[in-house]
């Protein structure tokens, strides 16, 4: 029913442009797997390679252990949901859903019956006779899912299918997609540039940049334990500080920054890669910073700064903090409804523990 997808040293080149560089990974059967990256990072190309619209320049694609070389998209056990859904506008909803059965020569009664079942699954019973244009965005989304599921694929491929929806609907569809995946139990491979989508839905996420898979792990690891400067800066909000390493002890480094010396945790990739007197990028999340009153708290990092700006977002407040250098830090404070004791201009002491600061080898950051 569900198959694993294995990419074996896959390279995809268009002339001299390398779209995907040595993708080598296994997506387990029944897994919800996301490729997360900015536009142009090669994730859609990779998806097209799995679905069969693009042949890899080098390397192999296996689905369910079977080599897919030379097997066209119509013969693969995959179904693709397009970014713009690509529903057939001139067919009724039920015909759209059961098009793959029509192709297989299933008679009309059989197709009708299956359409009813799938319409029920996507909570659109008795909408089967409508034209696609008569449905709302969210309903079309669900029809596209039903059309793909009708193929009974072993792997469902989704190319940013939620990007055209508004925020509320998008959040609702995330939960719905996840629920459908649990129910049908097949492998979902999801492409997105929206880290919120990737983190909430996926069992595992592969973060891609410029054709390279930078890190592959579950959502929490991706967020809490980034292994490259790109991943740290692309996934979630993060403060990046460049500094010079003064000492390294065990899995900790002491780094000189414009805010003074900061003690940071070494990531797995930075052990051995970072050396005393070398450059390092430090990353600390806005929500990891706390105010320090007097000497309360047991933080092993304390820095001085003044509040330069305050942005109120409802559930959180973002404070822009400036220290000695040009580069400000952003701090997020949960809004408890009581207002803040500090205001723009206040001098504050900030504390954060060294295990919430990660030192990574310098590298390209995600574009703001």
């Amino acid at each position: 029913m569900s198959a694993d997808v294995q990419l074996e040293h896959v390279w995809i080149k268009f002339g001299s442009f390398v779209a995907v560089q040595d993708a080598d990974l296994t997506i387990k059967g029944g897994e919800f797997f996301s490729f997360l990256g900015p536009s142009g990072c090669g994730k859609t190309t990779l998806l097209r390679t799995i679905s069969g619209f693009q042949e890899p320049s080098e390397g192999k694609v296996f689905i369910g252990g079977r080599d897919m070389a030379g097997i066209g998209p119509n013969l693969r056990p995959t179904a693709l949901i397009f970014q713009n859904l690509a529903l057939f506008p001139l067919m009724a909803v039920w015909e759209n859903i059961t098009f793959s059965m029509e192709v297989r020569g299933v008679n009309k009664a059989g197709r009708r019956k299956r359409a009813e079942e799938l319409l029920e699954l996507i909570a659109l019973s008795d909408q089967g006779e409508k034209k696609v244009s008569e449905l709302s965005g969210g309903q079309r989304q669900r029809v596209a899912i039903a059309r793909a599921l009708c193929v009974e694929p072993e792997v469902l491929l989704l190319d940013e299918p939620l990007s055209a929806l508004d925020l509320k609907l998008r959040q609702h569809m995330r939960a719905e997609l996840r629920a459908i995946q649990k129910r049908v139990g097949i492998t979902f491979i999801y492409i997105t540039h929206d880290q919120g989508e990737a983190l909430t839905m996926s069992d595992r996420v592969a973060v891609m940049s410029a054709g390279v898979v930078e890190q592959m792990a579950d959502s929490e690891t991706i967020y809490d334990r980034p292994e490259s400067a790109f991943v740290a800066s692309f996934v979630g909000e993060n403060n990046a500080l460049a500094g010079k390493i003064s000492t390294i002890e065990g899995d900790q480094a002491l780094v000189d920054t414009p805010f003074g010396p900061i003690r940071a945790r070494l990531s797995e990739s930075s052990r051995g890669a970072l050396q005393p007197n070398g450059e390092a990028f430090l990353f600390v999340r806005p929500e990891s910073l706390s105010f320090v009153n007097g000497d309360a708290g047991s933080f092993d990092n304390k820095i001085q700064a003044h509040i330069a700006e305050e942005q109120f977002e409802g559930n959180v407040r973002h404070l822009v903090l400036k220290g000695a250098g040009d580069k400000p830090l952003t701090m997020s404070v949960i809004n408890a409804g009581r207002g803040l004791e500090y205001h723009v201009g206040s001098e504050v002491t900030l504390g954060f523990n060294s295990d919430l600061v990660v030192a990574l080898p310098p590298g390209p950051l995600a574009a703001e």
């Binding site: 679905s51 998209p73 013969l75 995959t78 397009f82 690509a86 067919m91 029509e102 193929v151």
Partner: protein, 303 residues
């Protein structure tokens, strides 16, 4: 109306309204009304026009069906069979053009890219700079018994006797089919070009073989374009004069040639008008019926 004037300004509004009125009234409606009026009159010498004998009659129309007035029993087989043959031939030319042009239009709209597509379009258009008469004679050269096809065919020993393509009307069909190729390609191209490529890929991903993608996705989408092309090709084929004149076999007549003879050599304008009107009305009714049959609305064709 006020809105129209406010939107376009006085000068442009007057120009647009004036031009449209002149175009429709003076160039289209009035001449046809005169023709219609002619078709119900006797062919009188100039002196008698407006006199007591100048009354309305159906004799021109009955002539198409029953021939000479002094021989009312005999059905006018000659003219009616030419009429039937013309309509049938025009239908075949239209079908032939759809079959030829749909793949070309699809290829241009969805497959060919950039400079290559432009080159193809250009190579379709440029031959039409050659005028109609010259093109028809060129076809005659290709298809005549000592022409290019026969020379090559016999030279290679594929057949021994020269084929009389002209007598078999093959030259005529080829000439007519070729003459209206662009009128078929461009409407279909227009329609297919706006089809989202993802639709093709989606159908393929759902397991569809190429022919079903065309049958279920592309052709339904391109239907208004196909209908528009068919309408033009059919109407113009049925109304063609030069190609049948030059490429038609000695025994074959096109209905337009009969009309031409009445107007010109026969000097009988009323009869010519009545024949022309019968052709126009029949073609229009036929097109409307076909549109009803294939569920295409007039508005879609104009897109």
């Amino acid at each position: 109306m006020q809105k129209f004037i406010r939107k376009n300004g006085i000068v442009v509004s007057i120009y647009l309204l004036g031009a449209c009125t002149i175009w429709i009234a003076l160039m289209i409606v009035l001449p046809q009304v005169f023709m219609l009026d002619f078709s119900f009159r006797f062919n009188l010498p100039p002196a008698k026009i407006g006199g007591p004998e100048d009354v309305y009659t159906l004799s021109n129309y009955s002539h198409l069906l029953f021939g000479r007035a002094n021989n009312p029993e005999s059905f006018n087989w000659l003219d009616t069979s030419v009429f039937g043959k013309t309509i049938t031939a025009a239908i075949f030319v239209t079908i032939f053009d759809v079959v030829i042009c749909y793949p070309i239009a699809f290829y241009l709209a969805q497959v060919a890219k950039g400079g290559y597509a432009r080159f193809m379009v250009l190579s379709l258009i440029v031959p039409f700079w050659v005028n109609e008469i010259l093109r028809a004679f060129a076809f005659r050269i290709i298809f005549s018994s000592s022409g290019l096809i026969n020379t090559v065919g016999m030279g290679m020993g594929i057949w021994d006797e020269p084929f009389d393509f002209i007598k078999l009307d093959i030259a005529l069909y080829a000439g007519l089919g070729y003459a209206f190729i662009l009128l078929m390609i461009f409407p279909i191209y227009n329609a297919v070009e706006s089809l989202d490529k993802n639709q093709l890929e989606a159908a393929r991903d759902l397991g569809s073989p190429w022919w079903r993608i065309h049958w279920r996705v592309v052709i339904p989408f391109a239907k208004p374009g196909i209908a528009s092309g068919c309408t033009m090709v059919f109407m113009l084929s049925a109304g063609a004069l030069a190609a049948p004149q030059i490429l038609g076999g000695p025994s074959s007549l096109w209905f337009t040639q009969i009309i031409y003879q009445w107007f010109n050599t026969g000097g009988n304008w009323p009869r010519g008008s009545s024949y022309a009107i019968v052709l126009l009305v029949t073609c229009t009714i036929f097109v409307m019926l076909m549109m009803r049959l294939f569920k295409v609305r007039l508005g879609e064709i104009a897109r």
